[in-house]
């Protein structure tokens, strides 16, 4: 009996508590920097596409929502010919970001991607590609990789020694 009255009183006092509701379209909720939202393709510091078309994201994707086709430019640099993500299937698990060896594919804190037509949720490469570097700054795969594909000459990369002249005796 008393405990009932007490709980009624406690509930009544909740009238004066702070509201937990965030009135969404006017006020935005805080999204953590690591929030897994819309997927983007980023560029390296030289403003080139980071994606090398290795298919690891497509392989890691548990719902098979990523489709791409790799190709090469005249220097031999790999890039995706098309890159397509079907966001009506995507479950925003972030496995693609974890799989990506070049930090190209990244999930950003944005969830406002409603559409009236399902087909509009299929994003092509021009929709996915952004101008910046996303969450990981300063990383440029072709500057640390061994191959020379027009970005740097042999031996000019970061953490890379000059090539050894095999015709000489000197070290």
């Amino acid at each position: 009996m008393f405990s009932n009255l007490r709980s009624i009183f406690i509930v009544f006092l909740h009238m004066f508590h702070k509201r937990v509701t965030i009135e969404y379209p006017e006020k935005k909720a805080y999204l953590a920097p690591r929030w897994r939202g819309r997927i983007v393709l980023t560029r390296d510091p030289d403003h080139q596409e980071r994606c090398v078309g290795c298919y690891l994201c497509a392989a890691a994707c548990p719902v098979d929502c990523i489709a791409l086709q790799a190709t090469e430019d005249k220097d031999g640099r790999r890039y995706p010919e098309f890159f397509r993500i079907n966001f009506s299937r995507c479950i925003f698990c972030g496995f693609c970001e974890e799989a990506c060896p070049t930090d190209a594919i990244q999930l950003i804190p944005d969830f406002e991607m409603s559409e009236y037509k399902r087909q509009n949720l299929v994003y092509e490469k021009e929709d996915l590609l952004i101008d910046g570097q996303g969450k990981y700054h300063g990383y440029n795969y072709y500057r640390v990789a061994g191959v020379a594909v027009g970005v740097k000459e042999k031996g000019k990369g970061e953490n890379e020694d000059k090539p050894v002249d095999i015709k000489k005796l000197m070290p």
Binding site: N4, S7, I8, I10, V11, F12, H14, M15, H17, K18, R19, V20, T21, E23
Partner: protein, 318 residues
């Protein structure tokens, strides 16, 4: 204007304002529940979301009015009408002020008890005609609950009747000119309030329509406006019980003269409506046998005792 026309206008005016108020109560309840749960509630449509009910009504009118093939069609249609009619009929005896009121019956209180008993039929018939196990279970529970709580609902009011010496609602209000009946009849008030909650099957006594165990109980087969009638009927019931508590225990329209009598009446009524909503916000549902035990083993003896003591005191001072 002739007297007939005034009466017709009065009836129509009270009917329209009651239905509007009952519908708007849905919004009030949602806002208040939200308030007590640290939320905001519906606040988008119209000022403070007050037109939410209008939107809901438009939606409910355009919904498919589906009657299950296995249902007893005639009874199925009549049942939601009964709840509305009986509750609206009970309002006939409520004196909103000394002038506003439909009829001044000398057996007012008995009339209310009679009509609210008929209200049990709607629950039973709805559950029976739905031809559905859960509905029938809900109907059986509802019937048992309403019948057993009806008994001491009437008995708890007899103290008031003894003090006022009349069944007439106007006389009962006028008898409270000096002090409200809540003071001598506090136990009667508590019992009537509990019985009123059970009568309108509101939480914590909403076992006939317990969502979590009976899938909405007796009205689980209803859709569209038929469901809407049960829903509005429930809110009409809350208002009826609140209005009765106001009239019987809190001096009806009487109050200091800086506010008109109708405002006093509505103000008191609204406080009790809020109490109903607060109970819903705070208390969990009782088990069925607990409800029955509470009714027959505690509240019935208590109301009889209250009656005995009141009678003895009245006799002593005569």
């Amino acid at each position: 204007m002739s007297e007939t026309w005034i009466n017709i206008l009065m009836v129509a005016g009270i009917l329209v304002s009651l239905l509007t108020l009952a519908a708007e109560l849905i919004w009030v309840e949602r806002r208040m529940l939200a308030l007590w749960q640290d939320r905001l509630g519906p606040n988008r449509t119209g000022p403070f979301g007050a037109f939410q009910v209008v939107a809901d009504m438009i939606k409910i009118f355009f919904k498919e009015d589906w009657i299950p093939a296995f249902a007893d069609k005639k009874v199925f249609i009549i049942a939601p009408a009964i709840v509305m009619i009986t509750i609206l009929m009970s309002y006939a005896i409520i004196p909103f002020t000394s002038e506003i009121g439909i009829v001044n019956l000398n057996i007012g209180l008995l009339f209310f008890l009679a009509t609210s008993s008929i209200g049990a039929y709607s629950v039973v018939l709805a559950g029976w005609s739905s031809n559905n196990k859960y509905s029938l279970l809900g109907a059986i529970r509802g019937a048992a609950q309403m019948i057993s709580y009806e008994v001491f609902m009437g008995l708890s009011l007899m103290g008031v009747v003894m003090l006022a010496g009349s069944f007439n609602m106007h006389d009962i209000v006028m008898a409270q000119k000096h002090s409200w009946f809540i003071i001598p009849q506090f136990i009667g008030f508590v019992i009537f309030f509990i019985a009123g909650i059970a009568e309108t099957h509101r939480l914590p006594f909403d076992i006939p329509e317990a969502e979590s165990e009976l899938v909405a109980g007796y009205h689980s087969e209803y859709s569209g406006m038929k469901f809407g009638m049960f829903f509005v009927g429930e809110y009409l019931g809350i208002m009826l019980i609140s209005a009765l508590i106001t009239t019987l225990f809190f001096g009806g329209w009487l109050g200091p003269s800086f506010l008109p009598p109708i405002v006093w009446f509505l103000l008191k009524m609204f406080v009790f409506i809020l109490c109903f909503i607060l109970l819903r916000a705070s208390l969990p549902r009782l088990r069925y046998d607990q409800l029955m035990a509470l009714g027959w083993k505690i509240l019935l003896p208590l109301s009889l005792l209250n009656l005995l003591i009141t009678g003895a005191i009245i006799l002593y001072y005569q």
